[in-house]
Symmetry: C2
Subunit: 188 residues, 2 copies
């Protein structure tokens, strides 16, 4: 993945990420990217074959970072789902435009490093216990962050209660008991 890029290409991808986050997806053009780097747009093509490759690199980096932070947040957590949600929200808050890029279109899976998507999802499956519950929980989490990102919850006051409601709904029984301060032993 990113390791297959030259050092100069890595610099370009880093600049692209800055540009993306600071000015949005529409501003991510080869001209503007060249500007940021103090070179002309055509020079970029000596380091990256085309713009699609640049976007793939951004997406791949995003998944790798997400997977790492999710793993780190949940590995030793007493409440893995809550910890994951915190890490997830933090990632989106740090990288809102990148998150959009990662999720708004079908993934170019064949051009991404193998397993990068699966690794990012693994922490969630671990946290909720089963793939179908993970899918449902993922939908809730993704829905919450994109709706917030898109200003679909005008009154931010209602946000935290909604997160609590969803967390409680998707926590497995043992987790609910843990949150209540009960023993897990009796959980089915």
């Amino acid at each position: 993945m990113g390791e297959s890029l030259s050092p100069r290409a890595r610099q370009i991808v880093a600049a692209a990420r800055d540009l993306l986050e600071s000015e949005g997806a529409d501003a991510l053009t080869m001209r503007r990217l060249g500007e940021r780097l103090g070179i002309r747009a055509p020079s970029l093509y000596k380091h990256l074959p085309n713009k699609a490759a640049l976007e793939v690199a951004l997406i791949a980096d995003g998944f790798e970072e997400a997977a790492e932070t999710f793993d780190a947040a949940t590995s030793a957590a007493k409440e893995p789902l809550a910890a994951l949600v915190n890490a997830y929200r933090a990632f989106v808050k740090r990288n809102p435009q990148l998150y959009r890029l990662m999720t708004e279109r079908p993934l170019p899976r064949e051009r991404l490093p193998a397993e990068v998507e699966h690794r990012a999802a693994a922490a969630l499956v671990r946290a909720v216990g089963s793939p179908e519950r993970a899918r449902a929980a993922f939908a809730f989490i993704h829905g919450m962050v994109v709706l917030e990102l898109n200003g679909r919850f005008p009154d931010d006051d209602g946000l935290e209660p909604a997160w609590r409601a969803g967390l409680a709904a998707f926590a497995n029984p043992a987790s609910i008991d843990a949150l209540r301060g009960r023993s897990r032993d009796g959980a089915a």
Copy 2:
């Protein structure tokens, strides 16, 4: 809303919707739209001030239709939440690109008919009983449909179980309200 548009403008918006759904957002250009109607692009500006107005009209129509179908589906339903989810999924399946247009960016609320957004959301609030539960359920539903739309659930086999898991989670007040009002590090 749409009623403030001339009949010809209404025809244009209808053609735009066809174009949007059949070829995607990138194909929705004034030139291509003119093609569909058998006229030149500049002629469109006699009926609509600019492209943004066209998109606003599309979004407004989408919300009106959604509100109507959601109302119709839930008004006499024994299981309002399940009925709403069915209607919601059907709307997205019929209008995937329009749904994207309606949800992927911050809403130009000041340019939409008043209450149109609220009306579309009202059925869900009725179905789940409280605004915060509605928000959480909305996030789940929206997350599910966009992730499906974006091919994020590669194996479609897992889709229906995920819907069932989510529905069950949000239909069970006990699980949702378990932590209601309680501050959690995982949520707050």
